[in-house]
């Protein structure tokens, strides 16, 4: 969106790019091909695959808030965690039906984002980072203190999840859970894609790039950001709800600073502001951390620290951004 097109040829290229953004190309099939291939080739690793998909959804929600809206947050786990507790409590006290449980999780995430967002999104930059961190810590402390509701350190357990649509029970191998999560991802990805290309999506991108100018143009900046944050919260809540339903356990770590930092790292490694960055970053992160943690968690931490410093330094738009640049470079050379 930056820069002005000078010649008519360039301008038409910008316009064409704007229209073609909505269209699906062959490359758009790639992630879904991976989903199917994983199921066929790694049937023993379906729980890990489900975890990857859940984290993609969570990272996608952060991409909307941070990558498109410029909301810098160190507290996104609060929205994920509240979704998880929402789904867990819904299953425990209301109904074990999974899809309405996800709706409850989305509602929990969205409401939390709406309430806190209305308070804290007036601020920007460092203060906003501190406030998101403080709010998330507050929520985590509340959950650890309110033992009668959340189970405290022991976690929330003892709930059942009814078969999906009354037909597919959640099996031990995790086949149902895998396709359930993949379906949720597909729906949420389409919604996100539509959202970021809608007038609303263009508005928040404008706010990200220049909030003062957008305010001058008559955009209600804070209100738009709160709306975006609530949508992001709903999606993060669904991710949390999926975890709660699939693992049948909600621990305090779903609200922790560790998760907030990890999701940020996933997005940055993948590349913010392009939706598919969430796919790449979450997949790389979850799979590697699963393998590395089995060997030695501190070695993983060392590698992660190193990768983080190098990615920010040498590939600030993430792996996907670096790949895009490499492809563009190769195409230009050929032309």
């Amino acid at each position: 969106m930056k820069g002005t097109a000078s010649g008519p040829a360039e301008r038409s290229a910008v316009v064409r790019e704007g229209f073609e953004r909505h269209r699906f190309g062959w490359l758009d099939a790639l992630p879904w091909l991976c989903v199917v291939l994983w199921f066929v080739l790694a049937p023993g690793y379906l729980p890990l695959g489900t975890q990857v998909i859940v984290m993609i959804i969570f990272t996608l929600s952060l991409d909307l808030a941070l990558g498109y809206g410029g909301i810098e947050t160190l507290g996104h786990a609060a929205l994920f965690g509240l979704g998880a507790y929402g789904a867990g409590l819904y299953a425990l006290h209301v109904s074990s039906e999974p899809i309405s449980g996800l709706a409850a999780a989305a509602l929990a995430g969205a409401l939390a984002a709406l309430l806190t967002g209305a308070l804290i999104l007036r601020t920007r930059g460092l203060t906003l980072v501190m406030l998101t961190l403080a709010v998330a810590t507050l929520v985590a402390e509340l959950a650890s203190t309110w033992k009668s509701l959340t189970g405290g350190d022991d976690g929330l357990t003892g709930y059942q999840i009814a078969p999906l649509l009354g037909l597919f029970g959640f099996d031990l191998a995790g086949r149902t859970a895998y396709w359930y999560a993949a379906a949720a991802l597909a729906v949420l990805f389409l919604v996100s894609r539509w959202l970021v290309n809608s007038p609303f999506g263009l508005t928040v991108r404008g706010i990200r790039d220049n909030p003062v100018r957008m305010r001058m143009m008559g955009v209600q900046v804070t209100r738009r950001l709160v709306m975006l944050y609530a949508i992001s919260g709903a999606i993060a809540g669904v991710a949390g709800g999926l975890t709660a339903q699939v693992t049948k356990l909600v621990g305090l770590d779903v609200l922790g600073l560790g998760l907030s930092a990890n999701v940020l790292i996933m997005l940055i490694i993948g590349g913010p502001g392009r939706l598919y960055g969430a796919f790449l970053g979450a997949a790389v992160f979850v799979i590697l951390s699963d393998r590395a943690a089995a060997i030695n968690p501190f070695h993983w931490l060392f590698a992660l620290g190193l990768v983080l410093i190098l990615v920010v330094r040498f590939a600030p738009s993430g792996l996907l951004g670096a790949a895009e640049r490499a492809v563009a470079h190769a195409l230009r050379r050929r032309a």
């Binding site: 560790g258 940020l264 501190f298 330094r313």
Partner: protein, 289 residues
């Protein structure tokens, strides 16, 4: 009288805890104030100081007081070296990039601490003359914590005098207030900053070494207490040492008294206070908007 005794004990404990937080937070608030650098790795320097002292106590069989200056100087050197190398990259990136890079650096230091010292909780031994308690009627005070309050008080007073009355302090204040104008009148801002960065690491190391009774050493130290220190900095106002002092006192006392008076709420109270304070004054108690 019994209540008075409890209140006095809590007061000294709370102030001692506050002073440890204050010592660790000075470096961070100055970094944020001058360079607008979000240095999330700052707590790792307090941890580095603590572990250095631990190594000296365990392997060179030095006393705590003998190990302290060596650990502090060691941490300052570590800080200065990192400032000249990795932090060059940190300065050059965006705010979000700084957060991520310094988290990365924290991860590296956590992994290093685990490799060298293992993952168990460790505390440094209290020197003999400072062990035990000091009693007057019902008032029972830990000698070590009283000592901690005195030391930190002395450091705070010295810092204040240096900031207020010396040329160095004036340069630093000018650099915090307006780096561009400070540069224009001939102050070498990067050098002031490098010196302050090292000094901040040293002060954090003092907090790390002396505070192990309250904040025991472990590899996760660097992340575990980060939130607390960040909150002191944010509530005090970015770049304000005085603000950090009062914020540390306020939060330390709220936490200590809160945990004693309403144990059911645990650490909840302090975060509630922080959110309320930041919403009331987003620029912090002593920060300028």
């Amino acid at each position: 009288m019994r209540y008075l005794g409890t209140a006095a004990t809590l007061l000294v404990d709370g102030i001692a805890f506050s002073m440890v937080l204050f010592l660790i937070s000075i470096g961070m608030t100055v970094t944020l104030g001058i360079m607008r650098v979000v240095n999330l790795a700052h707590c790792a320097f307090a941890m580095a100081g603590g572990y250095l002292a631990l190594a000296l106590v365990q392997h060179a069989s030095l006393g705590l007081m003998a190990a302290l200056p060596i650990a502090v100087i060691g941490t300052m050197i570590l800080g200065a070296v990192l400032e000249k190398t990795v932090y060059r990259w940190v300065y050059a990136t965006s705010e979000l990039g700084q957060i991520l890079m310094t988290i990365g650096l924290t991860f590296l230091m956590i992994a290093a601490a685990n490799l060298l010292f293992g993952s168990t909780l460790q505390t440094l031994p209290v020197p003999k003359p400072l062990a035990g308690t000091w009693e007057a009627g019902d008032v029972i005070l830990s000698t070590y914590r009283g000592f901690l309050v005195l030391v930190a008080g002395a450091i705070a007073a010295t810092l204040w005098a240096v900031m207020e009355y010396t040329d160095v302090g004036a340069r630093l204040r000018a650099a915090v207030d307006n780096p561009r104008i400070a540069r224009a009148v001939g102050i070498n801002v990067p050098r002031v900053f490098a010196a302050t960065f090292a000094l901040g690491c040293g002060l954090a190391a003092i907090g790390g070494v002396l505070g192990t009774q309250m904040l025991p050493l472990e590899p996760w130290y660097a992340l575990k207490y980060l939130v607390l220190v960040l909150m002191v900095v944010a509530v005090g106002g970015l770049g304000s040492i005085q603000g950090s002092f009062y914020a540390a006192l306020l939060l330390g006392l709220i936490d200590t008294f809160g945990r004693y008076l309403v144990p059911a709420l645990g650490a909840f109270l302090i975060y509630l206070a922080v959110v309320a304070l930041l919403l009331w004054r987003p620029q912090g108690l002593f920060g300028r908007s």
